[in-house]
Symmetry: C2
Subunit: 304 residues, 2 copies
Amino acid sequence: MLAVDWGTTQLRGALLDADGRMIDGHAAPRGLLQLPTDGWAAAFDAEFGAWLGRWPDLPSLMCGMVGSRQGWAEAPYLHCPAGVHELAAGLCWIRPGRLAVVPGLAAQTGGEAGEVPDVMRGEETQVVGALALLGLADATLVLPGTHSKWVQVTDGRITAFQTHMSGECYALFRQHSILARSLPPPDGPATEDGGSVDDAFDRGVARAAEAGGLLHHLFGVRTLQLFDRLGARELAGYLSGLVIGEELRAVAPDPRRALVIVGSDGLAQRYRRALLARGVTARCIGDEAGWRGLFELWRRAVPP
Amino acid sequence: MLAVDWGTTQLRGALLDADGRMIDGHAAPRGLLQLPTDGWAAAFDAEFGAWLGRWPDLPSLMCGMVGSRQGWAEAPYLHCPAGVHELAAGLCWIRPGRLAVVPGLAAQTGGEAGEVPDVMRGEETQVVGALALLGLADATLVLPGTHSKWVQVTDGRITAFQTHMSGECYALFRQHSILARSLPPPDGPATEDGGSVDDAFDRGVARAAEAGGLLHHLFGVRTLQLFDRLGARELAGYLSGLVIGEELRAVAPDPRRALVIVGSDGLAQRYRRALLARGVTARCIGDEAGWRGLFELWRRAVPP
């Protein structure tokens, strides 16, 4: 089968064998933001034409923004709780039996201040895959990123989740706030400047747990520079610690539940480090979670 | 006397009579960001030349970024606790007996995660003036703005304070985040769009007090738009409520202490509204606080 993760800025595909193993992969910078509204089918054929030419009956399953209102075909959100069976039953078929899109999930949060919806598209598939790969049915999963997702799974179904705009906010503070003047250029060389970036990150995580709140703690990046307490690269680590630490403060993950970080890059390692500092052990699982999720959903798919 | 508030982007001056009443005022967009490093004296003479020509012995006291390292003359930070007497004794004289700068204040915050300094320049003078005008010696004062200050005063002296980057963060989220796409242009016409902006603001303030944290609540601006729950102008009010509400959540002002908002504009009114929703009554005092603070400090000044 052809497994496709088609998001806001990236198109990624993988050719999977009958056991779900990846045979080949292909990626292109052709996401929702780069494509014309009616350009999805043509981009699909262009990017995967070689494989589709070789195996004309290759079935394809896609997840991500490809199923949004601005995508190829809108796959309406399913509501929590939902697991692999609900998702497989809710596929949105573009070419019956041949090509489908995984629906996103919606959850309701909010209390007396009124209900506030939350949504995901693509992460539900990664969760399905991570659970299958790890053999878990009850866990908390965190998917770090521009918009981090915290997902609660009970009896194999996603019961609730929360989005945190941590990655986006970090980039805003890092590049567009007054703090940017105290920090090295984001794409500058990774040279040491006399202090330990990891130590500064840990200090930011610890600071985030103290009274004061993020809006106050942020100003500390400026004053620590003003009084020469931290070097420029350390300050960037401290800021990262403040933001990830604020996310952990708010989520307060239960150390008695299995915790899985879906990701294997430097960001995932930072989450793991910050969680450890709070006494929570987490395991990481990488990109294979998404492919496995598409494989698991396709196996259970019921064409219309 | 000539009272001058010289900040990052603005120069404002007031001619005060022997009782501290304002006779005349003058403002120009010539702050730290607009001036060359050595341009302060020339700008002072150019902007206030008419008054200085008429009263050659006019004494002048200045506060704000004019006393920073990048200012006209660096007035080193005094450490808390400090009140009107410490500030008056700590003036930095540029022309002895004639022209001086009020020092800024520094405070230490932070616990086990290590000390983090906090600083202010200009707000200490507004606090001195507000206390004098209101006859208070024990109060909490909030000075809303790009970087809001929360100031604790006991026995007439500033014992502690905290900066919150609320105004700056609101502008970042409003203009540079993904949320900007859901919101009307910041400088667009103030037309109604079918809902109440005040109600949406209140809802944001209430939401900020709930579990989840700012990084999560921000994403609600996007989903409330996605599900057509709030109009574009309401969403801007909701976002403002989230940010101010987060500041209040973190500060948790003591309702038994006198609370003073230094400011009289729409922003000050929003703080007042948000505080009321949390059961805290506050009074507002406007621009006169700064002039009165400079007057009170000059009265106690001891030239070198």
